[in-house]
Symmetry: C2
Subunit: 320 residues, 2 copies
Amino acid sequence: MPGEFALIERIRARAGRRDDVVLGIGDDAAVLALPPGHELVVSCDTLVAGVHFPDDTAPADIGHKALAVNLSDLAAMAATPAWCTLALTLPEANAAWLDDFLDGFLALADEHGVSLVGGDTTRGPLSMSITVHGLVPAGQALRRDGAREGDDIWVTGTLGDAAGGLAQWRARGPASAKLRHRLDRPTPRVQAGLALRGLATAGIDLSDGLAADLGHVLAASGVGARLELGRLPSSRTLADHFDEARRWTLQLTGGDDYELCFTAPAARAFEIEQAMAAIDLPVTVVGQVEAGAGLRFGTPDGDAWTPPADGYQHFSGGHA
Amino acid sequence: MPGEFALIERIRARAGRRDDVVLGIGDDAAVLALPPGHELVVSCDTLVAGVHFPDDTAPADIGHKALAVNLSDLAAMAATPAWCTLALTLPEANAAWLDDFLDGFLALADEHGVSLVGGDTTRGPLSMSITVHGLVPAGQALRRDGAREGDDIWVTGTLGDAAGGLAQWRARGPASAKLRHRLDRPTPRVQAGLALRGLATAGIDLSDGLAADLGHVLAASGVGARLELGRLPSSRTLADHFDEARRWTLQLTGGDDYELCFTAPAARAFEIEQAMAAIDLPVTVVGQVEAGAGLRFGTPDGDAWTPPADGYQHFSGGHA
């Protein structure tokens, strides 16, 4: 079993290196060159075994997800991913586990042109903290505070699959491999975020569920909203496994989808549809921004509906 | 007991904000503006309770140390600290603990003009990952790979106090509060690092002990060195508690001092002494860089000496 420096060397040997990495893994710190006229976008997210992923998750899936949830934050800012650091805490110096983890982590990093520029391995209960760095032309970051009354509220993809997969895993009953895959292998919507520069007024990624995450946008923007539950996009698989009321709860409070939610004036709807069609990503208007604070829900039959109170705050899920 | 968003709000409310923070805590990511002509220096280090600090360490000391060990990496690169992110894993959402932790963390951040720009709180065994960001004029970072044959090897301050404090804590016998303080409250040598721009040929911070850390510099630079054990600077307190042979072991293999070790041509010695005197920091030449690979030790009486083999590799200590 190799020691820590051997683990770091294993990481270093496999890390890619962009031209703007002046100094990568192997010194006290990385040195990075930014292009002129750009701002640096930084986000960090931690994943803890048994909290953010089931203990039986495959190491490659953990590696993928750990980076994906961080890239998702860059996507929500309309930033181009550039570099990341990895702080990995392992119960033991297990080289085989590390190799599998890196398979998932680095495949996603390569896909998005991200260089791993620094790392830290420590002994302890399995967890990992990733800090991702992206670039955005100065002033063009997509923030949470720009939603305006009358804006459409959009979401990418479909919602609820990951939460459905987690619910099935917890119930220890019949489970859909497709739903579990959405939980283990979220797709960060990086291309969508970039395509929304100049179109969307506000954006966020859906890690804690639509209600909580949209709630952050509304609070930051000083507005409210009405969501039409009948419009929430659902996969066929989710509809096969959960009835409508359960789906709404999963979609609104379940989290882990890592789709984007964004707002835009109705006048930009055609451009948005064109931009998303160009990257083959379904996109749906699910409600409208309103002046009055708070989030209201409309059902297809006009009945009142309130999501279960226990779904709103995940100690494990949020970040700043 | 507040939930996670309350914890993050607590952090956000107390975080300082530099003028170059376009967007701080409270969105999906921070947005930061770099001055023209500078490179970004990034490092991350994780601390785990019971591994990197004793379980009985005061929360404010943990907060101080978590940031200090990261700032120490920027010091070793001759970078000016600018921003940091904090990924904090807590067994429970304990607001009083968090406030104490932030007392130590933010006092040190303020001292060095560092803004906390992003965070993540998760539930799990106590640990924290910090990523620090610094700035350096393009091309002026102090790297590990510049040591040349004939260079002096310098260290700042005194070595071994922190390791002495840890040894006493482990032995559960008489303990010096001064040594324990050096373990709990390391001083990152940021000013020293900045003063060494253009003077030092290579540098590193002493987290794992002089032998291992200097060994990284030598390996990166393709050289070897001879250390004079009789010259290793020791505090009077350390000398009061440990005999000479034990002191050498603590100083060479103990770690946790967070002093700087750097190399420079002998012709720069006077300038270096002047620069360190200007910031009131003692500095000592402890050896010379030699052509032959490896590290050799000279004792005051000319005897051969080899450090104990078990002190070299800390699974917990290193990083890339």
